[in-house]
């Protein structure tokens, strides 16, 4: 049974989706100029998002209004910044950046969102609650992948 997250996290996730859509559209249209502009706009836009991510998700501390993060699927290039507990759990699947169960270990949106929450609030994996995972282009719900089910104990039931 997944821990239920707050409605506010769903609202934050849909706002994050809007930001991604607008940023991607603007960057594709104006390329470098928009990149520079968006890069400095606010923290969540710092990365150069030139394609839609395949998935986005929201994560927060269970039953707490603090520690909320929405994030996207991306190749894990920031392994050094991974929370040690999260890293240990991911490495049970295999080396980060390689594939397990047809997915890149550490590439899922859930991992990046959880990492931010865990690093910021120094809380463990078992305190996290997630929204469903969405495809940002269509807003369509996607099931949690096998890797996320094993790492975070998430279920698609």
């Amino acid at each position: 049974m997944n821990k239920k997250c707050s409605n506010a996290l769903y609202k934050a996730l849909l706002a994050y989706r809007e930001t991604i859509i607008n940023t991607v559209r603007e960057i594709k249209k104006n390329d470098k100029k928009a990149y520079k502009k968006n890069k400095c706009k606010k923290k969540t836009d710092r990365d150069y998002i030139k394609h839609y991510p395949a998935a986005i998700v929201g994560c927060e501390r269970y039953r707490s209004s603090k520690g909320r993060n929405c994030n996207r699927s991306q190749i894990p290039t920031n392994i050094r910044d991974f929370n040690p507990e999260l890293k240990r759990e991911l490495e049970k699947l295999g080396p980060i950046g390689t594939k397990a169960n047809s997915n890149v270990i550490g590439g899922c949106a859930e991992v990046h969102a959880a990492n931010k929450v865990m690093n910021h609030h120094k809380k463990g994996l078992n305190t996290l609650a997630f929204t469903v995972t969405l495809s940002p282009r269509t807003g369509r719900q996607k099931p949690y992948c096998r890797n996320c089910q094993l790492t975070f104990g998430l279920s698609n039931e």
């Binding site: 409605n7 769903y10 609202k11 849909l14 859509i21 559209r25 594709k28 249209k29 390329d31 030139k50 394609h51 839609y52 991510p53 395949a54 998935a55 699927s73 991306q74 190749i75 950046g97 594939k99 047809s102 997915n103 890149v104 590439g107 929204t131 469903v132 969405l134 495809s135 940002p136 282009r137 269509t138 807003g139 369509r140 719900q141 996607k142 099931p143």
Partner: protein, 188 residues
């Protein structure tokens, strides 16, 4: 793997727009985590394509776009938007939001003159099936910017005899688009 190509991992973690001309029809495909056909997988060209297309003006207005309502209703009713219940909205409102969310990026492409396709099962990157989401209702002479793009080297022309885009929109589903593109030679 050519350095100019997106890697499998990158394709799996991103939803990339790509474009080609199939049987003379401008086509947009949203990869939604799926594989891009090898012959179209070129970073520089894909970025140039997006730069062109996102800067194009609309050729068609909203009333001139035909949408694949049967397929999209099926996706929405299949639980793809159940999470909207968390927003405490009425059911009819939730349904409208779901439709708007699904259609918006594809209709934008159709308004620019493209037949726009989405991945039928984005949960599985290996799943080969695509369906049409939106297309212009009738043919209009493309605006000059679109014509220049369609005549440029940035978009490949491909013949796929087994694909008939004149068919009813609801029948343009379950298409193995990537495989069809790869198994047919680009027009010289």
């Amino acid at each position: 793997m050519n350095k100019q190509q997106y890697t499998k991992d990158y394709m799996q973690t991103h939803d990339i727009d790509y474009f080609c001309i199939i049987n003379g029809v401008p086509v947009h495909i949203a990869s939604e985590g799926g594989r891009i056909p090898d012959i179209l997988n070129n970073k520089e060209i894909l970025q140039e394509q997006c730069h062109w297309v996102y800067g194009l003006p609309d050729t068609y207005n909203n009333n001139e776009i035909q949408t694949n309502d049967n397929k999209i209703e099926e996706i929405i009713n299949d639980g793809g938007y159940e999470y909207l219940t968390e927003l405490e909205l009425e059911q009819s409102k939730r349904h409208d939001i779901a439709k708007e969310m699904y259609y918006s990026s594809f209709i934008k492409m159709a308004q620019k003159g493209f037949y726009s396709f989405g991945k039928s099962n984005p949960d599985n990157p290996e799943d080969p099936y695509y369906h049409i989401v939106a297309r212009p209702q009738s043919f209009k002479r493309p605006a000059s910017l679109l014509s220049s793009f369609l005549e440029s080297d940035y978009i490949q022309k491909i013949s796929i005899p087994e694909l008939d885009f004149d068919k009813d929109i609801s029948s343009l589903v379950n298409l193995k688009l990537v495989e069809l593109i790869e198994s047919n030679q680009p027009d010289s």
